[in-house]
């Protein structure tokens, strides 16, 4: 068992304005898994992802990764270290820094890491080659297409060799063709051994997903293991 969520609840606000974003959510992910989380808008998918990523405390429940209970055992810096070492985050809006080249954007997660810049560059180039962007290393994000920008963002998520890639609607901002492109990139990455958890509106998009989890109103209403064909 690699990542485990136990009884996670998340409540925002107080009194009248209280929102129960997640209620008693629990599941686990094995190394090499490919999980799709889907459900209607506002059902708590992003909230779940940020809790798994060590970005915000659940109201109750535990997140256990590599036998460490994140929010019980790690302080703020510890959580940052966890994100740096275990998590590769892919956002819907790419979130590349516009003033950095593709290569520099990919190098970014390694900025606080104390390894030689030569080593960093090698790792960044490797990540870029995995997403097929080697020839765009020197370009600024504004000079890339949407699909290429998301590829760069995926390379940035890969570069630290994270244990798990969390992607929050990574294809939400892309047209159908590019979407399939990015999805098959995720498929390839999973086949290459990466653990992936992806939020999407429609799980059927993910052909290669091994597990699918449906959330509505903060509850898991369906867990499905899709047999690999």
């Amino acid at each position: 068992m690699y990542l485990q969520l136990l009884n996670i609840s998340k409540i925002f606000g107080k009194g009248e304005a209280q929102v129960r974003a997640l209620e008693s959510v629990g599941f686990s992910i094995e190394k090499g898994d490919y999980v799709a989380i889907h459900g209607p808008s506002g059902s708590g998918k992003s909230t779940l992802l940020t809790i798994m990523a060590g970005l915000q405390h659940p109201s109750s429940g535990k997140v256990i990764v590599d036998e460490i209970s994140l929010y019980e055992e790690l302080n703020n810096d510890g959580l940052a270290g966890f994100r740096s070492n275990y998590i590769g985050f892919v956002f819907q809006a790419f979130n590349l820094l516009p003033y950095l080249s593709t290569l520099e954007n990919v190098l970014l997660p390694m900025a606080p890491v104390r390894i030689s810049s030569k080593e960093k560059r090698e790792m960044a180039h490797l990540a870029l080659s995995r997403v097929g962007l080697t020839d765009r290393a020197a370009h600024l994000p504004s000079q890339l297409s949407g699909g290429q920008q998301q590829r760069a963002a995926i390379a940035r998520a890969l570069v630290n060799e994270p244990g798990i890639i969390l992607a929050d609607e990574p294809t939400g901002n892309l047209d159908t063709e590019t979407r399939n492109d990015i999805l098959s990139l995720f498929d390839d990455l999973n086949k290459a051994g990466h653990t992936i958890l992806m939020v999407t509106h429609d799980a059927s998009h993910i052909k290669a997903a091994r597990k699918s989890i449906k959330i509505t109103d903060g509850h898991i209403i369906e867990k499905e293991v899709i047999p690999r064909i």
Partner: protein, 390 residues
């Protein structure tokens, strides 16, 4: 890529705001350094002039009939003195508590004598001096010939030399003693011009007053030394003498400098505050523009201190640049721009390298200090909020 690279990259964004901040910091530093250099030059000028005032304490015998007449500062006005001080008394001056502030103690015996030279007779002012001490006090003296060394060698003032038609190498007699002119003092505008100055023992013999002196001129070392204390301490050890400080002119000049200094400090303080506010608001503004970026940094694993380091490094770089440029501009202002614009009539207007260095270090501290709080608030940006707002 490391954290400093990120600071450097972001330094060159929003160039307008940063150049504006840089200019403000450079102007502030230049102004403070230039004002300081000016005040310092005024102080040095006065301190140098102070040397030319010679004595700043005069000791005379206690006597109601004695009148000190000095126009301005020169104290050579005692022509006749009814009473004298014992020469042996002056050793006591060295025993006072603040004796390290005393630069020279120059006793004098003053009298008149008839000089005969080439058959011409003149009554002249005869001043007995302690050669080495007098040299220290009258450092501005412009002499021709060589300073007297032997017992019968004398130094004469320009006016006396002219009236008596004496030149270097001439010998003359005064009350039967033969004296030789070794040196002529260029006109000083003081009563030294009229005097014949000979070693004090010689004059004591000529005037028949062995072991006596008419007055003692004391020169204290610095401008700020405790003159009142010195006067008090000397009058304690020499109870039968009048001890007076000559300092009005100096004090007035120093007061003016003190005023300028206070104004400068006020302007400097206001500039520092202004600069601090400007740094603060620029950094705060830049952080609120970069909220999303900082959220991403945090989301991909940067710690709070990583964020602070990025922000503070950028402030440090701007402050460092303004420190360098500020020193450069100060040099230009002090050495080229100001002298060509106004006649400052000051001799010591130059940049003190240590103060310039201190100024540069201070502006770096200011830059870091004023960025500290914005940096902390940047490190507290919640990544979830910025990510969700996308």
């Amino acid at each position: 890529m490391n954290l400093s690279n990120i600071s450097l990259k972001s330094l060159f964004r929003q160039k307008g705001k940063k150049v504006f901040l840089l200019i403000a910091m450079v102007i502030s530093l230049t102004t403070v350094l230039t004002l300081y250099s000016y005040v310092e030059s005024q102080r040095l000028d006065i301190e140098n002039q102070f040397d030319e005032f010679g004595a700043n304490i005069v000791i005379t015998p206690k006597s109601d009939s004695l009148v000190l007449s000095y126009g301005g500062v020169n104290i050579s006005g005692i022509v006749t003195s009814l009473e004298e001080i014992e020469y042996s008394q002056i050793g006591k001056i060295k025993s006072i508590e603040n004796n390290e502030n005393i630069r020279a103690i120059s006793p004098k015996l003053i009298g008149a004598g008839e000089v005969s030279f080439n058959g011409i007779r003149n009554t002249a002012l005869l001043v007995g001096i302690e050669l080495e001490e007098e040299k220290k006090i009258k450092s501005w003296w412009n002499l021709k010939g060589t300073f007297p060394e032997g017992d019968n060698e004398v130094l004469i003032g320009a006016a006396a030399a002219e009236v008596m038609k004496l030149s270097i190498g001439d010998t003359f007699t005064i009350k039967g003693t033969v004296l030789k002119v070794t040196s002529i003092l260029a006109s000083t505008g003081s009563q030294d011009d009229n005097a014949i100055m000979a070693p004090i023992e010689t004059v004591q013999t000529i005037l028949g007053k062995p072991g006596k002196i008419s007055l003692v001129e004391v020169s204290a070392l610095c401008v700020d030394c405790p003159i009142d204390d010195l006067v008090f301490q000397i009058s304690q050890v020499m109870p039968n003498s009048d001890v007076k400080a000559i300092r009005q002119v100096m004090e007035q000049k120093m007061q003016v400098v003190d005023q300028v200094k206070k104004v400068s400090i006020t302007i400097g303080t206001m500039l520092v505050i202004l600069c601090g506010l400007l740094i603060f608001s620029t950094v705060t503004g830049s952080i609120s523009d970069r909220k999303q970026e900082i959220g991403i940094f945090r989301a991909i694993g940067f710690t709070k201190s990583n964020i602070m380091q990025i922000i503070l490094t950028e402030s440090f770089l701007i402050s460092l640049a303004s420190g360098f440029l500020g020193i450069l501009c100060t040099y230009l202002t002090v050495n080229l721009i100001l002298p060509s614009l106004v006649d400052l009539s000051t001799e010591n207007f130059r940049v003190n390298i240590w103060f310039a260095f201190t100024g540069a270090v201070s502006i770096i501290m200011l830059g870091l200090g004023a960025s500290w709080w914005p940096a902390i608030s940047a490190s507290n940006i919640d990544p979830v909020k910025t990510i969700n707002s996308l």
